[in-house]
Each structure stands twice: as structure tokens, then as C-alpha cells.
């Protein structure tokens, strides 16, 4: 029982880590909390749904469409709106992105209605000894690991990735060293949106798709980056896995309804006890 729960937790956690990495990138680079991260994820899920519905495209192949598409959305958002509030007090960016979020949700409602939709693609489970895991979750986890690994490779090895990390350490110094900070900001928002889209496409196979599905992921991503330490990208990975584990373990003892609050309680506790994250993050 516990083994099953632990593995389920890790499966879910890999996905959280990937989605939260996007939120963490934006926060690390711009000190902006993207409240619209969930709605972006929702757009990714709808992309997958419609591609599957209209063209019968394999949901996992649709990642190749949803990620670039949302990358562009992210870049445009940054270019048009977020750029103007990066240096303003946090209230401005919080509100602006909240506005973007509800507008996206509303547009989706108008375009696609609030009906629950699902992609019926992979059903059934892998059985391995005493454990059983739904196929869609295992595959989503595998994809999440590959995409997250790709993101880390990009951050560690490429010049752009290094520039991005440099901006998140110190914008002024990076600028003096010749990094085009505006471009890095756009890139960061684009990548973050692409990661959210990947999350959306992967959960599209597992959960019901509706315009307001994204909100919980916004909160969970907050928690993950708080757990991991803001601006600490590997920390986000551990934070994601930890959140997955805690949620699954607590579901053993608590009713579903109360279990929803576990993430929030954890969020508040961690903020109070260790605002810099469980691992040494960058202090605000």
C-alpha cells in the first residue's frame, strides 16, 4: 500500500516539478509571480484535446504543437504586457497577470463552453507485482522527466541558458556583461508557458478538461517553488516530487476534501518556518 502510494506520489510529482519549473523561471528571472500559469496550462490541454478530436492526433505528439504555440503566447504576453510591470511593486504584476488569467478563462469558456471534455486515449494500467499504475500517468511522468531534463540541459549547457541563469542571479551584472535582458525575459516567459503547455497536454489524457482546470496548478506550482526555494531551479524538482509524495501520503489518512487543503497548509507552514525554501534558495 505504502509502496504504491510512494510511486504514485513520485509519478505526480514529476509533473508538478515540470510545471512549477516554468513558474520558477519567471519568478527567478523577473521576480514576477505568474498567476496566469494555470490558465496557460489549460490552453495547452485544450490544444491537445482539439488536435485529438479533429485530427485524431496522438496526444503525446500534440506536445510538438502545444509547446511551441504556447511559447509564442508567452513571448507575446511578455512583450505586450508583463514587460511594463517587471520593475513595478508586486501588486501590479499580480493583478495584471490575474486579469490575463481570467480573460483567458473567459475566452475559452466562450469559444469552447464549460463542458467537461476528455481525451480518451490510454486507459488501463500497468501491473507490476503488487502494484498497478494507470498507463497515462506513467507515460506522463516519463515525458515530464524527459522535458525537465531537456530544460536543465538547456539551462546548464547552452549560452542562452547560462544568460538566463545569469539574469536570475543579478540582472545588472548580466546586463553589463552584454546580456540582452529584455530578450531573456521574453525567452523565460516563453519557456515557462511552453512548460505549462506540456503539463496541460500531459494531464489532458488523465483529467477532465474545462476552462477552470488550471487554477489548482497555479497554487501547486507556488508551493513547489516555495518548497524548493525561489530562484533555485534544482530545488523546484525536489519540491515537485515532495509535493506529489505528501499529497499521496496524506490521502491515506484524509478525505479527498481535506486533502485539497494539504498543499495550502504546507505552503503557509513552509513560508513561515523557512521562507527561503527547504534548500538554500535566494532570499528576497
Amino acid at each position: 500500500m505504502v509502496g504504491q502510494v510512494v510511486i504514485s506520489g513520485l509519478l505526480a510529482g514529476a509533473l508538478y516539478a515540470m510545471v512549477a519549473l516554468g513558474l520558477g523561471l519567471i519568478f527567478g528571472v523577473m521576480r514576477v509571480l505568474n498567476v496566469a500559469h494555470g490558465p496557460l496550462l489549460m490552453l495547452g490541454a485544450y490544444t491537445t484535446f482539439w488536435l485529438f478530436h479533429w485530427f485524431g492526433l496522438n496526444p503525446y505528439l500534440s506536445l510538438l504543437v502545444s509547446m511551441p504555440a504556447l511559447f509564442v503566447v508567452g513571448v507575446v504576453l511578455q512583450r505586450l504586457l508583463v514587460r511594463r510591470v517587471v520593475d513595478a511593486p508586486e501588486l501590479s504584476s499580480l493583478l495584471l497577470l490575474f486579469g490575463v488569467g481570467i480573460a483567458l478563462v473567459n475566452v475559452t469558456q466562450l469559444a469552447f463552453t464549460s463542458d467537461l471534455r476528455s481525451v480518451e486515449y490510454l486507459t488501463g494500467s500497468f501491473v507490476w507485482g503488487p502494484f498497478a499504475f494507470s498507463k497515462s500517468r506513467v507515460i506522463a511522468c516519463a515525458f515530464a522527466i524527459v522535458i525537465t531534463a531537456g530544460a536543465f540541459w538547456f539551462l546548464q549547457k547552452t549560452r542562452l541558458g547560462k544568460a538566463l541563469r545569469a539574469v536570475s542571479q543579478s540582472r545588472e551584472v548580466a546586463q553589463v556583461c552584454g546580456v540582452n535582458v529584455q530578450r531573456i525575459h521574453m525567452l523565460a516567459f516563453g519557456f515557462a508557458s511552453a512548460l505549462a503547455a506540456a503539463g496541460g497536454s500531459l494531464v489532458a489524457v488523465m483529467v477532465a478538461i474545462q476552462p477552470e482546470m488550471g487554477q489548482v496548478y497555479t497554487f501547486k506550482s507556488f508551493l513547489v517553488i516555495v518548497l524548493g526555494g525561489a530562484g533555485n531551479y534544482p530545488g523546484a524538482l525536489v519540491g515537485g516530487l515532495l509535493l506529489g509524495l505528501v499529497e499521496q501520503l496524506s490521502s491515506l489518512f484524509l478525505t479527498t476534501q481535506v486533502n485539497e487543503a494539504v498543499a495550502y497548509v504546507l505552503l503557509v507552514l513552509v513560508l513561515l518556518v523557512r521562507p527561503t525554501g527547504l534548500f538554500k534558495g535566494r532570499a528576497s
Binding site: 509571480l33 493583478l95 473567459n106 497554487f219
Partner: protein, 306 residues
Amino acid sequence: MKRLLLAGFTVLLVVLAFYPMGGTGYGVRTMLQLFMWIALAQSWNLISGLTGYVSFGHVAFFGMGAYTTAILVTKLGWPWLAACLAGGVTAMALALVIGWPCLRLKGPYFAIAMLGLNEVLRVIVSYYEGLTGGGSGLSMPTLHASVPIYYAMGLVALLVTALAYVIVTSRFGLRLMTIREDEVAAESMGIDTFRYKLYAFLLSALAPGIVGGLAARDQGYIEPMSVFPLITTITMIVMVLFGGKGTIWGPVLGAVLLFTFQEIVWARFIYLHQLIFGGIIIAVVLLMPRGILGVLQQKYNLPRTI
């Protein structure tokens, strides 16, 4: 000019005081909601407009007041006015419990913590079914008291505006604004920043608690989703921002304008209202972050205590 404004304000108060005698039931309830929004916006302004600490879960105090009132009325049979005042007290108690640890958090972390706490509270309320009715909510016995609630709500709005005036013109208010401009500097000048932030936070929780109780009593039925929605917090914030953050009359102006706009426009575009609201938020943040009064203040060199 000052006299003229004062005279105008007095006339307005007299008109509002006699309004329920001539107005329709619908009109009275609409005005009552307007008063509610004025009180909420004004309260948010006390903590966030003055100290710069963004209370992103301020609706928690509204919900706390609503539930306190509903529980006292249904389980203990308290009269509604006493129950609503008790709602203000429990909201302040909640603010003390939340503020004591959370006001040490800086910047976005405080905002996230407040957001999280509101959600926690909502889940707790849904869970303790014996006391709160859980997800199915609480119904209070019907009460035809729109007119008394109208006066109570109006009085709260008036008092909290007066409170804002007293604070902004006092040394206490100056200390709060110093914290907003530069907390480290404030601290090195000898201001016990934590203590003053906590005082402001407590004061900002009182009116939402009372108003939450009044609104609950007026509607007669509450449930977790209806009294803890994030959108209520956002509406308060947008009202304050639109009118002028950190000013005395800004929240009132913002509440009146946005509420009127909502009443007129949203009823016609029911499917578009979130989109329109999102657009308003974006426009306010980008185009006039100082708000109407903030802009006027700068342009015409108006006094700080506007």
C-alpha cells in the same frame, strides 16, 4: 472650495439617510451593496494602500464575519446586529493569528501566504459540517430587514472612511507610509515596523468582518464558495487602485465607479463579464497605476489628505 465640498457631502449624506423611505426595495439593496464595497475597498486600503503589504486574501475576513454571524444567528439565536459585531471581532482575532507570523514575510511571499490562508479557511469551513453546514452552507431564518441593514452598512462605510482620515492624518499613518516607501529606513529611524503593520492589519480586518456578517444576514444563506472567493479580494484591490491607492477618498471613488459600471454593463454582457473585468484590471494596472486621485494629486498638487 472646501466649504462647497463639505456642503455637498452633507447633502449627499442627508439624501442617503432618507433614501430608503422613497426608494424601491431593489434600489435599497443595490445601495447597500455599494456601501459594502466602499467598506471593503477602504479596509484593504488601510493595510495594503498604506503599508504596501499586498493582502491577497482579504476576503478571508469577510468570510470569517459571515460565518460567525450565521453560526451565532442559527445556533445561538443572537440578534443580527450583535452577531455582525461579533463577526468583526472574530475577523480581528483571525487577523491577529494570521498577521503575527505572516507580516514578517516580505513582498510576494506575504501575498502568496494570504492567498493560501484564504483557501485553507475555505476548506476548514467546508469540513466542519457540524458547525458550518459544510459544503451545503447555512440558512438563516428569513428577515425583512433590508432597511436597517442598509443603515448599518452605510454607517460602517462612513466610519471606516473616517478611520482612514484619522489614520492618514496621524503620526501612525505617517509611520505606515514610511514602511511602504522604505521599510529598512523606517526601521532604522526607530519605527517598530512589525507592530505598526500588525495594528494596521487588525484595523483593516474589522470592517470586512462586520460587513461580511451584514451581507450574510441580508442574503440569508451562505456557503463556502460564496463568501471566500478570490474574485472579491481582486475587486477590492481594483477599486482601490482605480480610485487611488493610499488616499482617503480613492477607495470610495473607485468603489462607486466600478460598482456602477458593473451594475450597468455586466448585466448586459453576462457571458463576457470576466473578460471585461480582466480588461479593466489590465487597463488600470498599465494606464493608471496611481489611480484617479493619485493622478489628480500629482497634477494639481493636491494635499496628501485627499
